[in-house]
């Protein structure tokens, strides 16, 4: 079975339950958004999948094979994370050379082109790169490996608006050219909302949503108008949250609402991903 299957992962750090019975599947050739607040467990999940840490229980399968300590499985994945795993003193061009050594499908020309496009100086030492260029270096490597499962943990950390734009375009171009599975873990929900096809929301170690972006957004709507009108309109509905400004109110509802049942003066709006996320993950 193709894809990455995560089965009942549990991970505790002392008292903290970082992952609680996490199960999900990352299918072939789809772009996923892994969303969660700080400390929700995104990085722990990704670290477990890529073998950086061990779960307390549960397992991970890559294309049907157990991923743990399995070279063949791990060679199908590549992850870029905040932390730098390259030796002290290594230069960018050497990291590129070694990545190509370990990932035979690596596209060197593509890598060179991207580096030029982003303005990455490959002669520099990795540790001397700024935060932004550190991220750029890693994301270029990741996109160039041609591995079927790519993980991006906060890929645009430190990137200016132009470079962020370039990243999303490069990702979509590569994806359109030859599809792969991309899992983007990020806080910048608004930016990434259009790019992702599937949404996974993790809250305090638990998966609370795992569905297509389209389905997820259809599960909610906004209702705005005067406070009184809104209050009566939302009677009996599941309210995720409310914003007030003077006498005006906007309520975020789970589920659909029939516009014909609403009084005049009430506007129905589409739920956007960031608002939905905020209200789902608030305490």
């Amino acid at each position: 079975m193709k894809g990455i299957e995560v089965r009942s992962l549990d991970k505790n750090y002392g008292d903290v339950r970082a992952l609680r019975n996490v199960s999900l599947t990352f299918e072939e050739n789809k772009i996923y958004g892994l969303l969660g607040r700080n400390g929700a467990g995104k990085t722990t999940l990704l670290n477990t999948i890529t073998g950086r840490i061990f779960p307390d229980s549960g397992d991970v399968l890559v294309d049907g094979e157990a991923a743990l300590e399995n070279d063949k499985a791990q060679q199908k994945t590549f992850m870029m994370s905040e932390k730098n795993f390259y030796p002290e003193g290594m230069k960018v061009k050497d990291a590129i050379k070694w990545t190509r050594e370990f990932y035979p499908g690596f596209d060197e020309e593509y890598c060179r082109n991207l580096a030029e496009k982003f303005g990455l100086n490959t002669k520099k030492k990795i540790k001397s790169l700024s935060t932004g260029y550190g991220s750029i270096f890693k994301l270029i490597l990741t996109l160039s490996t041609n591995a079927p499962y790519l993980f991006f943990d906060e890929p645009v950390l430190g990137l200016d608006a132009n470079h962020r734009d370039m990243f999303y375009r490069a990702l979509l171009e590569k994806y359109s050219d030859k599809p792969f599975t991309a899992v983007i873990s990020t806080h910048l929900i608004e930016e990434v909302a259009g790019v992702i096809e599937e949404v996974v929301i993790i809250k305090k170690g638990e998966i609370i949503r795992n569905q297509s972006a389209e389905e997820l957004l259809a599960t909610g709507c906004t209702v705005s108008g005067t406070a009184a009108a809104v209050d009566s309109a939302i009677q009996g509905k599941t309210v995720l949250g409310v914003d007030s400004l003077g006498g005006l109110k906007t309520a975020y509802l789970a589920g659909e609402i029939d516009s014909s049942t609403l009084p005049a003066g009430i506007e129905i709006g589409k739920m956007d991903l960031q608002k939905l996320f905020i209200h789902l993950t608030n305490e």
């Binding site: 670290n47 890529t50 073998g51 950086r52 840490i53 061990f54 300590e69 399995n70 070279d71 791990q74 060679q75 199908k76 994945t77 590549f78 992850m79 932390k83 795993f85 390259y86 030796p87 002290e88 070694w98 990545t99 050594e101 370990f102 990932y103």
Partner: protein, 252 residues
């Protein structure tokens, strides 16, 4: 496959340090003709023992072969198992390779000092097991046994360094302090005092005898005792290292 790439990477790590090491050795060896020219007829000199330098060098290589390499391997999808196997291969390659080079240096040294009566060039092995080769010095047997001995000594040194570095990696802060302070304290202060005061020097005498036994010196200067002990030590250290490595996790 993965192992090939992993080994290639680990060897590339020594790209600078190994040549530098031999440069230093060469310079030291060059001192021989220089200093011998200043010797008078009654002076005598005994040189050698470069294999000690090699052993220490490989011990340090072992110490440096885990932390950065582990992170690099994890980043590039290499399992801990493959990483460990490639280190074993590296140990084999370096131990054999550098020991052979040592033999060549030994040969060069002996060739140079052959004519001169008052300088001798000897390896540590020769000095330790001299009685064994009384009858025929510099024989094939001596060279072969010396080579084997050096290879195993190098391997043990490298594996010891690796074990120590992995142990430190896996220990938490308290453990690190306990070992860093505790081990030297016991060895350098605790044990000697205890031995002097309580056991009247018996422990050190026993340790001394044990060492001589392991080295085969007590049994007719038989280096094979040392070699077997080295093999056992290597296996134990390798086993312990693997047990620690297989559950190592990436830290910050």
């Amino acid at each position: 496959m993965n192992i090939k790439s992993a080994l290639k990477y680990q060897i590339a790590d020594g790209r600078v340090s190994i040549p530098v090491f031999y440069l230093v050795i060469f310079c030291l060896m060059a001192l021989i003709p220089i200093s011998s020219s200043g010797m008078g007829p009654e002076d005598s000199m005994s040189i050698g023992g470069f294999e000690i330098a090699t052993i220490i060098f490989l011990f340090v290589v072992g110490l440096n072969s885990f932390r950065e390499t582990f992170r690099m391997m994890i980043q590039n999808g290499v399992s801990r198992k493959t990483m460990f196997v490639s280190f074993l291969l590296l140990t084999l390659v370096l131990s054999v390779g550098m020991s052979c080079i040592n033999e060549v240096l030994l040969w060069i040294g002996k060739a140079f000092t052959a004519g001169k009566g008052n300088i001798t060039f000897q390896s540590v092995f020769e000095q330790m097991y001299a009685p064994r080769y009384m009858g025929n010095p510099d024989s094939i047997q001596m060279i072969a046994e010396g080579l084997l001995f050096t290879i195993l000594a190098c391997a043990v040194a490298m594996m010891l360094g690796y074990f120590i570095t992995i142990m430190y990696y896996r220990l938490n802060k308290v453990g690190k302090i306990a070992v860093s302070v505790g081990v030297p304290a016991i060895l350098i202060i605790g044990l000697p005092i205890f031995d002097a005061v309580v056991t009247g020097g018996m422990i050190y005498r026993a340790l001394g005898q044990l060492t001589l036994f392991i080295m085969g010196i007590l049994n007719g200067y038989n280096p094979y005792y040392a070699m077997v002990s080295a093999l056992i030590a290597f296996a134990v250290l390798a086993g312990l290292s693997w047990m620690l490595a297989r559950r190592a996790v990436v830290k910050d």
